[in-house]
């Protein structure tokens, strides 16, 4: 289990992390979400010792992460990059060996992953001779080639075409099923909803929501209510400043209501406007949960 414990990090006047805490369990895929600049990349860099937290620590299997532990992690940084003029297979083998694999095992692993990525015919090509999409595949293979027990992927889907995204999700699911812990950050919330079991949402260096997606839905302080009043065009809502309208589509409106809201009164108002065809709770989408979690923090003045 990976434990991120109370990480704090400042870059001059900028607070990057402010007590960031969460855990990632083996065999679970964790989506690490947050607006730009929320501290996702800094957190990941702290895991790999690339950034030194001012406070807090990162633990793996109960012990503070050291270099030996990191050898069993795989990393795909947001800023992609490999040696442009190095041959693809040699490059993978080099990184596998840097993670402690003997040369022969590393060479075999490199070829296995190139096959898996459909790049076995490009083994002897230099990286810079490959297309952008194929370079991304090699980058993913670099994170995987040494059979890591934990995968940390920073924006793995950015810049991928749909085929690349499919390969990526396949591999992530497969590694997870094999017991590997996976943490990845992404802005593509539909994908995250599709792939992840758990999500962690960070804003301004603090975790604002964490847990299984279903738990978060259940725990959501507000409910998504869909109301359809025939012939109303949603006009019955006009002049109400308290209700949060998420969406209007013809007679159909989507509302965000507090759990404590008086639904009877609301229903009564809707009935006065016309025939109520729909009046139902809807499970919130991840993107809605995300906005809900991030919004109150985003409204705060970010200078501290």
């Amino acid at each position: 289990m990976l434990e991120i414990l109370d990480l704090a990090k400042r870059y001059g006047p900028v607070v990057a992390l402010d007590g960031t805490t969460f855990t990632a369990r083996p065999g679970r895929i964790v989506g690490f979400l947050g607006p730009n600049g929320a501290g996702k990349t800094t957190t990941m860099r702290c895991v790999f010792g690339l950034a030194r937290p001012d406070r807090g620590e990162v633990r793996w299997k109960g012990a503070v992460v050291d270099r030996d532990a990191r050898l069993r992690f795989g990393y795909m940084p947001e800023q992609r990059g490999l040696y442009p003029r190095m041959r693809v297979a040699e490059q993978l083998s080099y990184f596998a060996q840097q993670h402690g694999m003997p040369a022969t095992v590393a060479n075999a692993a490199a070829m296995r992953w190139l096959e898996r990525m459909g790049l076995d015919d490009r083994a002897k090509s230099k990286l810079e001779e490959l297309s952008h999409g194929n370079q991304q595949r090699v980058q993913l293979a670099t994170a995987l080639v040494h059979d890591p027990e934990l995968l940390i992927l920073d924006e793995p889907f950015s810049g991928l075409d749909p085929i690349g995204i499919a390969t990526m999700t396949d591999v992530v699911r497969e590694r997870s099923a094999a017991g590997v812990g996976v943490v990845f950050s992404s802005h593509q919330l539909d994908l995250v909803e599709d792939v992840c079991e758990d999500v962690v949402i960070i804003a301004h260096g603090r975790i604002v929501a964490a847990g299984g997606i279903d738990e978060l839905r259940a725990a959501s302080g507000r409910q998504h209510l869909e109301v359809e009043v025939v012939g109303s065009a949603g006009a019955w809502l006009d002049g109400d400043g308290e209700l949060i309208v998420l969406e209007r589509a013809g007679d159909r409106v989507k509302l965000l209501v507090d759990r404590s809201a008086d639904l009877d009164a609301l229903l009564a108002r809707a009935r006065q406007a016309g025939e109520v065809r729909t009046f139902a709770y809807q499970p919130p989408k991840l993107s809605e949960l995300f906005m809900e979690a991030v919004a109150p923090v985003a409204a705060e003045e970010p200078t501290r």
Binding site: L50, L71, P77, G100, T142
Partner: protein
Amino acid sequence: MSRWRSIWLVARREVLERGRSRGFILSVAFTTIIVVGSFVLPALLFGEDAATKVGVVEPVPAALPVAIATTAGQFDRAVEISTYPDVAAADAALGAGAVGVVVAMPADLSGPGEVRFDKQTDQATAQIISAAIIAVRVQAVLGASDVDRDALAAAQQPPLVGAREPQTEDEEARFFVANIGAVLILVGIFSFGFTVLTGVVEEKQSRVVEVVLSTVRARDLLMGKVLGIGVLGVVQLVVFVAAALAAALATDRLTLPSTTPGAVALLGLWFVLGYLLYSTALGFLGALASRMEEASNASTPVTMVAMASYFVAIFAVVDDPSGTVATIATFLPPSAPFVVPLRAAFDAIPAWQIGLSVLVTLAGIWVLFIIGARVYAGAVLQVVGRMKLRDAWRSAGE
């Protein structure tokens, strides 16, 4: 996994990737061709085509100028002959470089006379003139009505060959080896030190450094890089020196000084020490830059120190190899790599000074590496803009 395996892997990657690159192979081939060429070309061009200027002292035997020209012609060499009223005038011309050789021979052919060079005897020219003198005297004997066997034998006596201000070949060769050594060290530091610099910037620019540093310690990466590129530097030095020595021997331009094996070993040692010192400095300064243009700015102080050290060596130290400046420069790590081999070539440095200088330089490399590794670690992940030394130091230390 041990740190040493990690360093070894980094170094091995540098050797394999750069050693196989066309650029490296071409540069080794190119420098070798230049070294060999600088010995062989003058031998081809000047050795045969340029006219040898010969001064003869009056009174001149009538047959001598023709004999010299004819003999030289047989060896495909041209001569220009001028006459001087006496030995003093001829010697003055020799000292001023107006002529390359002076010939003084009794006009009555009673003796073989003398052949004189300025500082060093040119064997080929000496042979040609000797042959001409013998030919003139032998013809005179043969031309008489009856041939005197004793006179014929006496006529074959070669002239006295010497130099006006004799200089030992050893001295000249030493000076040559010492200068070549200083240049080689400078070139080595510049070309391979800058390979380290560009390698560091390339890793930053291609962003691969973040992947590498997720497993390799920053100081191990710097050390592996410096060592790997250093191996290539030594390979090039060995090829270079071997080519230079072979060419020097083959073209007879230089008789190697008696101290050559020692001088070459010392040169190799100081090449390595100088490279380690300067490439470590260049490596961590390179980490402060995020683009090549910034890298050359960041490296300016190092370049200037290297150039200053080189000039101290070739001017101050050559001028007075045992003087105060030379002695001080021996114990400063930046200048020691240039100064010590030069002083040793002049036999002007006691063994204890060499030993102490090596220790001081090693200590300097170690200190620089400790500082450099920390700055490198702090700066190498900063990918935008040029970083200040102080910020990098702090960022790694927090």
